[in-house]
């Protein structure tokens, strides 16, 4: 019976997928337990993240100056491997849109992947509707600047066939957005999502104008650019914490708690593994 089950499992799941499934299944109960606890009123303190604190203060300044905040959702979209990064950007957009709808000063959103366009426009539209200003909604506040594809590095030589199979690099997006950042009157530049080398071009353009800059990405190779150009950088997984810090939703708070618990479990596991290995027990 056990052998039959084992052979069935081996034939239906690859070793790598099995490891990922194990991690996922481990995460599942922790997440739902945290969600249950948060729903029951459990509260835990969040370490202050400078970027989200600054973001909360930005809108008042933007309303005062009558100038919008620019938000870049990066070069990824919905449905690709970096959907989580785009979702992180959308969480910030939801927060900005909700407050901007009241002050009639909507953010200026630029995207490089068309799949994020309807979602971003819909978030903005719903924010206006919730505040009772549906007629004020302008779909042109979300701008598709140029197509891009994070799966293609800068080494890929663009050609019609490459273009036919998949869109291309993000330099066209960077060029369009740099023009916007350098000419348009904006209070701040927020960049959250998946980025490549173009992050430096956009971030540096904003830095030269002395804009307040908040940005982050999960791409490790881009993090030096984030640190160098942003006044309030978000490093790595900090970008996924936006929902918990800005909206206080139970699902976001509980996922943050589950992440922290699992991180400590993994760190402890690594520590134990190092000790066991050092002692020659494994």
């Amino acid at each position: 019976m056990v052998n039959a089950l084992s052979s069935l499992l081996q034939s239906t799941i690859e070793p790598e997928q099995a490891r990922m499934l194990a991690l996922f299944l481990f995460f599942l109960p922790v997440f739902f337990f945290a969600y249950w606890a948060v729903k029951r009123g459990a509260r835990f303190s969040l370490r202050p993240i400078d970027a989200y604190t600054a973001l909360k203060g930005l809108l008042a300044r933007a309303a005062e100056a009558g100038q919008p905040v620019h938000l870049s959702l990066g070069i990824a979209g919905i449905g690709d491997q970096a959907t989580a990064d785009t979702t992180a950007g959308l969480n910030v957009l939801e927060y900005l849109a909700e407050r901007a709808a009241i002050s009639a000063n909507p953010p200026l959103v630029t995207i490089a992947n068309a799949t994020a366009l309807p979602v971003a426009q819909d978030l903005l539209r719903r924010a206006y509707r919730r505040q009772g200003y549906s007629e004020e909604y302008d779909p042109g506040r979300v701008r598709f600047v140029a197509p891009s594809d994070p799966t293609l590095g800068s080494s890929a030589v663009p050609s019609p066939s490459v273009y036919a199979n998949s869109p291309q690099d993000a330099f066209a997006y960077a060029a369009g957005t740099m023009q916007l950042l350098s000419k348009q009157k904006v209070t701040a530049n927020v960049m959250l999502g998946q980025f490549g080398d173009e992050f430096l071009l956009l971030g540096e353009t904003g830095a030269r104008r002395d804009l307040t800059q908040i940005g982050g990405t999960s791409v490790v190779s881009v993090l030096p650019f984030v640190y160098a150009t942003m006044s309030h950088p978000l490093i790595g997984e900090d970008i996924y914490a936006g929902g918990a810090y800005l909206s206080d939703k139970p699902a976001h708070l509980s996922s943050l708690l589950a992440q922290d618990i699992l991180r400590w479990v993994l760190v402890a596991g690594m520590g134990v593994a190092i000790v066991l290995r050092t002692l020659g027990l494994v």
């Binding site: 959907t83 979702t87 068309a114 030589v157 019609p160 036919a164 160098a228 699902a251």
Partner: protein
Amino acid sequence: MKHIPTAIAIGVGLIVLLDFFFTLPLLDAVGFTFREWTIILAAFAVLLGLVNLVLVHLSRIIRHNEPSTGYSVIVLLTAVSVFLIGLLFGLPSEPMNWVFDHLYVPLQGAFFALVAFFLATAAYRALRARNLDTTLILVSALIVFLGQAPLVSAMTQVREWVLNVPSTAGARGILLGVALGTIATGLRLIVGMDRPYSE
């Protein structure tokens, strides 16, 4: 009625997730079909993107309420020209190849070259020793920089250590956090707790 999009998203998400983990003929076929649909949806999204691009730039030209509207004229003219060339001659054609080889590739190369200059000014800003963090970055950068030049052999070893030990450890820590964050975001979307697509 408002629960229908959520139910569809949860159902499709679960099937695609199960298809990723397991190799079962029925699941593979359904998962493959959903992925095919994604391509079609993405193609429609590109059309929406094109419409958005044209409308935004047309509005900029007509309203004249934003600076540098001349660029919008160039964008629209270029978009229409390339669109017509593609429509008349097809994608793998001589005129389209010419556009890419003689316009797009040189422009991309020129733009990529800008990165070096931007990098220099960004590095200058990042490497000013203002506090402990930036001082550590400055020292590490100097070690890696000097280690590249074969002047002092000891520096090469220190450079290797900086890149292989603290730098890799930091990167792995970040990757671990990113992986957990991605799982959390994916889970919230799949179980319908996060619904960017509906109320």
